[in-house]
C-alpha cells in the first residue's frame, strides 16, 4: 500500500517504526493535494512549509527515541472554521477573508499535541450554513467519487480531502449533519459525537446549541482514535462536559454484536427515499442480525415529522445572534457608511452571501415578539418531546440504524436554488443533533452507478463508545472505505 492509502493509525505506526518518515508522509500528502486539488477544490489554505517543518521536528523526536504521540507524523486537515494561530481562518466568508486568529482552537491544540501535522484548511459552506459546500468564497468543492456531484456539506472540503487521500483524518463541524452527510456523500466514515464531548473553544460558531467538532476518516478505528484525542474536558468551554471519557479505542475491538439490541428505523415508506440507500439500511440491519444482534423495527414519529422545522428554528435563531459580532469594527471586513446604520448595512450586506443573510434575517425574525411565541417557543417544546421519544427508544435498544441521507449525492448546482429542498435533505441527521446524540455515518459501499451508500448509527447521549463499537463490527464485515483518485463518473470505466 502507498502512504496515502494508509489509515491514521497505520501511518503513525509506520512512522514510529521508521518504515517512512513524517516528512515523507507530508510529501505524500502534498503530492495528492498538488495532483488533485486543482479540480476537487477542497482546500482554502495549504500549509506546506509549516507542515514540513513540523514533520522534521517529529522525525527528530523519533530519532531521539521519544514518542511524539498517538498520531505521530499523521497529516490532518481542519475545516476553515477552526481558529488557527497566525493562519487565515475564513469560514468561507468575505467578512473574514483576511482574518488571522491569534490563538488555536482547542481541538487543533489537542491534535498537534498528539503528534498530528496540520496540512491544510478545508472548504465549507459559508459559516457552515449549507449541505453542499457550494456556497464559498473559493467556489464549490467537488465530490471526488464523481466530480460532477456535490461532496455534501458543510464539511465537504474535509470529506473530499479524506476520500481523495490527501490525509487519512480530517476534522469538521456537525450542527445538523454537516459531517455525517458529507461523509456519506464521499463514501467515508464520520462521527458527530454527543453534544458536550468535544470542546468548541476556537470553533467559529454557527449554532452554539448544536455545533460539535466531528472527525472524518476512512476507518472507524481512526474515528475512535480521534475521539480519544479530542473528547476531554476543556476549561475554556463550560458546555464541554467534565466527565471522565471511556477509552474509545477499546470499543472498536468488539468482535460481534451478540447481546446488542438494535432498532432499525422503519417510520417511512421506502418510496420516500432513494431505493439504494433504503437497501443499504436494510442490509446493515441484516448484517447486524447475522453478527448476533437482536434487530427490531422502530419508529421516531416526532423526530422525523418535526425535526427539520425544529432544527431550522433553533439553529437560525442562534445564528442570528451569534453572527451579530461581525460588525466591521474590531476585525474582519469593514465598509464605511455615512451613518452607523449604513456602516453596518454596507459591511454585512456585501460580506455575507445570500444564504447567510437569509438565515440571519429568518433567525432574527423568529425571535421577535409574536414570532417567538409561535416558533421558537414551540420549537423548544418539540425538542423536549423529541428527547422523551429518544429516551423511550434507548430504554429498549443499545443503538439504532437509520439513513444518513434520503438521497444520493446530487449534481453540482441543482439544489442551491431551492433552499427548502436542500433543508429537507437533513431529515435524518437533524433530529440526532437536536437530541445531542452521537451519530456515525458508515460507508456501505457503492451502488451499481458507483455512488457511495451509507447508513447512520445512533446511540444514546454519551453512548459514543457503543456507536463506535457497532460501527467497527459492521465495518469489519462490510470492508472499510478506500481512497479514490478523483474522477468524473462515466469518464473512467
Amino acid at each position: 500500500m502507498e502512504i496515502h492509502e494508509l489509515t491514521a493509525k497505520e501511518t503513525a505506526k509506520a512512522i514510529k517504526d521508521k518504515k517512512f518518515s513524517a516528512v515523507e508522509a507530508v510529501r505524500s500528502s502534498m503530492a495528492r493535494i498538488s495532483k488533485y486539488d486543482g479540480v476537487v477544490n477542497a482546500l482554502i489554505t495549504v500549509l506546506e512549509e509549516d507542515a514540513l517543518r513540523r514533520a522534521g521536528e517529529i522525525d527528530a523526536l523519533i530519532a531521539r527515541g521519544e514518542d511524539p504521540g498517538p498520531l505521530a507524523g499523521v497529516p490532518y486537515i481542519v475545516k476553515d472554521n477552526f481558529c488557527t494561530r497566525g493562519v487565515r481562518t475564513t469560514c468561507s466568508s468575505h467578512i473574514l477573508e483576511n482574518w488571522k486568529p491569534t490563538y488555536n482552537a482547542s481541538p487543533v491544540n489537542y491534535m498537534n499535541a498528539a503528534g498530528a501535522i496540520l496540512m491544510a484548511k478545508s472548504n465549507l459552506d459559508e459559516f457552515a450554513m449549507g449541505s453542499s459546500t457550494e456556497n464559498s468564497i473559493i467556489g464549490p468543492t467537488k465530490n471526488p467519487r464523481d466530480l460532477g456531484r456535490v461532496p455534501g456539506g458543510s464539511s465537504g472540503g474535509s470529506a473530499a480531502a479524506v476520500a481523495s487521500g490527501y490525509v487519512p483524518l480530517a476534522l469538521g463541524t456537525d450542527t445538523g449533519g454537516s459531517v455525517r452527510q458529507p461523509a456519506a456523500f464521499c463514501g467515508i466514515q464520520g462521527i458527530k459525537p454527543s453534544y458536550g464531548e468535544v470542546s468548541r473553544y476556537g470553533i467559529i460558531a454557527y449554532c452554539s446549541a448544536l455545533d460539535q467538532v466531528s472527525p472524518l476518516a476512512r476507518s472507524v478505528e481512526d474515528l475512535a482514535l480521534a475521539m480519544e484525542i479530542l473528547a476531554r474536558p476543556d476549561p475554556n468551554d463550560t458546555t464541554c462536559d467534565g466527565y471522565a471519557r471511556p477509552k474509545f479505542s477499546d470499543a472498536t475491538a468488539m468482535k460481534d454484536l451478540k447481546g446488542c439490541r438494535i432498532g432499525v428505523f422503519a417510520g417511512f415508506e421506502a418510496s420516500e427515499m432513494d431505493s439504494d440507500l433504503y437497501g443499504a439500511l436494510t442490509r446493515a440491519g441484516d448484517i447486524c442480525r447475522e453478527a448476533g444482534a437482536v434487530i427490531e423495527p422502530i419508529d421516531l414519529p416526532i423526530a422525523v415529522k418535526y425535526g427539520v422545522a425544529t432544527y431550522y428554528v433553533t439553529a437560525l435563531a442562534d445564528a442570528s445572534s451569534k453572527l451579530g459580532c461581525y460588525d466591521g469594527i474590531r476585525y474582519g471586513t469593514h465598509i464605511e457608511g455615512a451613518t452607523l446604520a449604513d456602516m453596518y448595512a454596507n459591511t454585512r450586506t456585501s460580506s455575507f452571501s445570500e444564504e447567510v443573510r437569509r438565515r440571519i434575517i429568518l433567525g432574527a425574525c423568529l425571535l421577535t415578539e409574536g414570532f417567538y411565541q409561535n416558533y421558537y417557543g414551540p420549537a423548544l417544546k418539540v425538542r423536549t418531546k423529541m428527547a422523551e421519544e429518544f429516551e423511550d427508544v434507548f430504554s429498549k435498544y443499545d443503538a439504532y440504524l437509520l439513513p444518513t441521507t434520503p438521497s444520493l449525492p446530487y449534481p453540482l448546482g441543482t439544489k442551491e436554488t431551492d433552499p427548502n429542498r436542500m433543508y429537507l435533505g437533513d431529515v435524518f441527521t437533524v433530529p440526532i443533533s437536536l437530541g445531542g446524540l452521537p451519530g456515525l455515518s458508515l460507508s456501505m459501499g457503492f451502488n451499481s452507478a458507483n455512488l457511495p451508500l451509507s447508513v447512520q448509527i445512533v446511540g444514546s447521549r454519551y453512548g459514543d463508545s457503543k456507536v463506535l463499537g457497532i460501527a467497527a463490527a459492521l465495518e469489519r464485515l462490510i470492508g472499510r472505505p478506500t481512497v479514490c483518485d478523483p474522477r468524473k463518473l462515466g469518464e473512467v470505466a
Binding site: A105, S208, T238, D318, S321, G324, R330
Partner: protein, 492 residues
Amino acid sequence: MAVVSKRPIVIGLEVHIQLNTDTKLFCSCSTDYIGHTPNSNTCPICLAVPGTLPLLNDCAVELGSRMGLGLHGEIQRYSNFHRKNYFYPDLAKAYQITQYGLTISDGGYLDIESEGKPRRVRIHHLHLEEDAGKLVHPTADGRLTGAAYSLVDYNRGGVPLSEIVSEPDMSSPAEARDYVIRLRQLARYLDVSDGEMESGSLRVDANISLTNPDGSLGTRVEIKNMNSLKSLERALEYEISRQNKVLDSGGRIIQETRLWDDAEEVTRSMRNKETASDYRYYPEMDLAPIVITDDQIEAFKRSMPELPWEKRERFEKSFGLAYEEIAILTERKELARYYEDTVEAGAPPARAANWVRMEVLRALNELGQDITDCKVKPSALAELVKKVESKEISSTIGKEVLDVLARENITLEDAIKRTGASVGRITSESLDALIDKILGGNPDVVDTIKSGQDKKGGKLKFLQGLIMKESKGQADPREASETLAKKLEGLC
C-alpha cells in the same frame, strides 16, 4: 422637598450595581477600568473574537447571591443566561449576556424609612449581567451630535453588574431616594459593590406612573440617565409635574423612555413604544446553566455579615443610643466598627457615640478624609474620652487633642503635650493662685460685679473664660466657678 400631586404616584426602580469582583463576568480582564488607556483592558473574549466562549466568574455568582440574600430573596438552585440582542458599537458581541426569566435571586424586600415613616419595598428579582463598553465622541461637549466619527472603548465591556428590579412600591421621589440609599448601604455592608453613583458603579432607572381617578395604574414612563441621588429626585419631581400637567390639560401619557437632562433639568423623550427595541432574547448556549447547591447557599448565608438593620437593633439594645445617633453610626459599617472598637477599648457608649458622631466626623470632614483613613485610633479615642470623662482634661482640650491626632501619627500623650496642656488636672492650690492672679489683674471687672452691675452675668462669664484659658483647659469648670464665686463673695 415634598412633591404635590393630586394623583397618587407609583414608582419602581431598576438599580444596576457593579459587583466588587477582581475580574470581568466572563473573562479574566480586570474590572479596574477607569482611567486606563482605551481598549488596553480587553481580551479575545470581551472583544468577541470569533471562536471564543464566555467563562462565568464564580465570584460574581457569590456576590449576586449575597446581595439576593441581603434582600431576603430566594436564591435559585438553577438559573441561566440569555442573549439580549441589539446592535450598537459598544456591545462587541451584538448581544449582552444577561439573565432573563430564570434569575439568580427571586423576590424579597427591603425595608426603608422615608421622612420618618417605615416602608417595605418589595423586590421583583435580582439578576446578573455584563456591562457594555463606552463610546467616545470627539466633540467639545462629548456628545454624539456633530461628531464626525466616534471611538469605541471596550475597557468596561464585560464588567459584572447585578440588576435589582423593585416592585412599584414607592410613592414619592423621596422614597425612591431613600430606597437607593438603603440599597447602596446594603451593597456596601455586604462588600458587594462600592455603590458610587458618580463613578457609575451604581446606576438607577426609574419607572413612574400616576394613578388614574378610578384607581387603575396609569401609563408607565421610564426615565434614564440620572447619575446622582439629587438628579434622581429632581427627575422624578419633574416627571410628576409634567405628567400632571399633561393629564390636567386633557392629554394622555404615552409609554416611552425619557432621558434626564441634568443641565436643563428636564426629561426628554428618547424612544416610545413603537420604536422600542425588541431584544429578541435567546438562551445563551455558550454557558452552562448556573447551578447553586443547598450547601453553597448555606455557605453564603454563613458568610453573611451583620446587616444594617441587625446592627441598628443591636446598637439600640447594647448601647442604649437614640435612633438618630444609631442611624449615623451605622450608616457605614466601617464607622460602626470604629465606634464599637472605641467602646470596646473602654469608652462609655453614650460618650463615645457623641465623640464619634460629632468630633471624629467633623475632623475627618475638615481633612476631607474617610473613616477608613482616620489616624485617630479607636483605642486613643477611648483613652481621650475617658480622660475628659474623668475631668483629667477638659472637653475643649479634648477636641484640640483629637484634631492633633487626626492630623498626625503621634501618641495620645504627645498630642496632649502638643496642645500645651499638662498631663493631669490642675490642683486646687494652683487654681486658687490662678484665680487670685486673674482677679488681681482685672480690678475693673471685679468692681463691676461687686457693685451689682453685672446683671446679665456677662462679666462673670468673662472671668470664668479667662480661668479656663489661662489653665489651658485644665481647670475643672465646676470647681473653677465655685472657687471664683467664693473669692468674689470673700471680696464683698
